[in-house]
């Protein structure tokens, strides 16, 4: 019995620091900025699930696990939003969800927190690094993550649509999560 209590006490700090958050979906957004015909456009995924375990003081036990409903894409352009779920682009019939899971967190030389992980999108899994900005506010926090993806790495816009002079290859992805205790 004493031994079990001892083990439990040793494990306690881990449990305490791997802090799990709830997401406020109404105030959270997963957005991206692409280029089409030399102009920037904004899009967002209206539905996604994020499991966030994060404590800035204990990066070793931080974990992001995000699942995105790709068909919920919205770029405020009816024609584009009809084309994007199609076979040439996201092919949501075959690949309805994208998934990011972190593998480790580290700090860069300038103190920026980075989350290495794997993004699976349209049947392709690639290593992706997010910059992480965590700001506590009251009992909650805001979490902003950023990365830039290459759409062609994931076969988004294949065939004739691979032309990057029409649709830029770089897509900046931004996640803004409002975390609740």
């Amino acid at each position: 019995m004493r031994r079990m209590v001892l083990i439990a006490l040793m494990l306690l700090p881990l449990a305490a620091f791997a802090r799990e958050w709830k997401i406020d979906p109404a105030r959270s957004a997963l957005t991206f900025t692409g280029t089409y015909q030399d102009e920037k456009f904004e899009g967002r995924f209206k539905r996604f699930d994020a499991k966030i375990d994060y404590d800035p003081a204990d990066l070793a036990h931080a974990k992001f696990d995000v699942t995105i409903d790709i068909a919920s894409v919205d770029t405020a352009n009816t024609e584009r939003d009809q084309a994007l779920p199609g076979k040439d682009f996201f092919d949501t019939a075959q690949f309805p969800r994208a998934h990011f899971v972190s593998t480790r967190f580290r700090k860069s030389a300038d103190g920026q927190v980075l989350a290495d992980g794997t993004l699976s999108l349209r049947g392709v899994s690639k290593p992706v690094t997010l910059t992480v900005k965590f700001v506590p506010s009251g009992s909650g926090a805001t979490l902003d993550v950023d990365t830039t993806l290459k759409r062609l790495d994931f076969g988004i816009g294949s065939g004739d649509w691979a032309d990057t002079s029409m649709i830029g290859n770089d897509v900046a992805v931004h996640g803004h999560l409002v975390l609740l205790p």
Binding site: Q37, T78, E79
Partner: protein, 194 residues
């Protein structure tokens, strides 16, 4: 040929505007009617971009042309009944209105659909709306189509009237908008005037 209008003929600038805009309207109509049938490919996007660039060009040329037209006198008309003169005035007025309104309705549609707008990939043209506006988009598209068919009908009337003047009345109405022909029938046109 003088650059400014004379009593007997349209000047070089007026003719340049007339024929360039005429050419662009015909090309634009052909492109517009074809492009809507294309499948969703990058080629379609490029043809649409071309259509938009030509439309903006027509709008700019139309404004310059209107300013030039208002800045000086038109050549004198050959004698004709009142109703003909009024019909000509009305149809010319409507042509000017449509040359401006058709590109504007396209620009409005493009804006309300939240598409990018670049003049021949060189100049960014701002949106007329704050992003996507489905109601205005549907309205502008309907206006664009109706205005196009109005213009197409009016162009047919315009061409038919010019040919009628030339071959039936044998006056100078068509010739005064053509480069050259200074001596031949213009002399007769002037003769009719006197």
């Amino acid at each position: 040929m003088p650059l400014r209008n004379t009593e007997t003929r349209w000047g070089g600038i007026a003719q340049f505007f007339h024929w360039l805009i005429a050419l662009l309207i015909i090309a634009q109509g052909a492109i517009g009617l074809t492009m809507v049938e294309l499948g969703m490919t990058p080629a379609k996007v490029k043809v649409f971009a071309l259509h938009k660039s030509i439309g903006l060009t027509i709008l700019a040329l139309g404004l310059l042309r209107l300013a030039w037209r208002l800045g000086q006198r038109a050549p004198l008309d050959p004698p004709m009944p009142h109703w003909q003169r009024n019909a000509a005035k009305l149809s010319h007025f409507l042509l000017y209105v449509l040359i401006l309104a058709l590109p504007l309705s396209g620009w409005l549609f493009n804006s309300a659909a939240n598409f990018p707008l670049e003049w021949f990939g060189l100049v960014h043209v701002p949106s007329l709306t704050h992003g996507l506006d489905p109601v205005l988009k549907a309205w502008a598209l309907r206006a664009h189509v109706v205005l196009f068919w109005l213009l197409a009908g009016l162009v047919v009337v315009h061409v038919a009237a010019a040919l009628w003047h030339h071959f039936v009345h044998r006056d100078n109405v068509l010739l005064r908008m053509l480069p050259g022909f200074e001596k031949r029938r213009l002399a007769r046109g002037r003769g009719v005037l006197q």
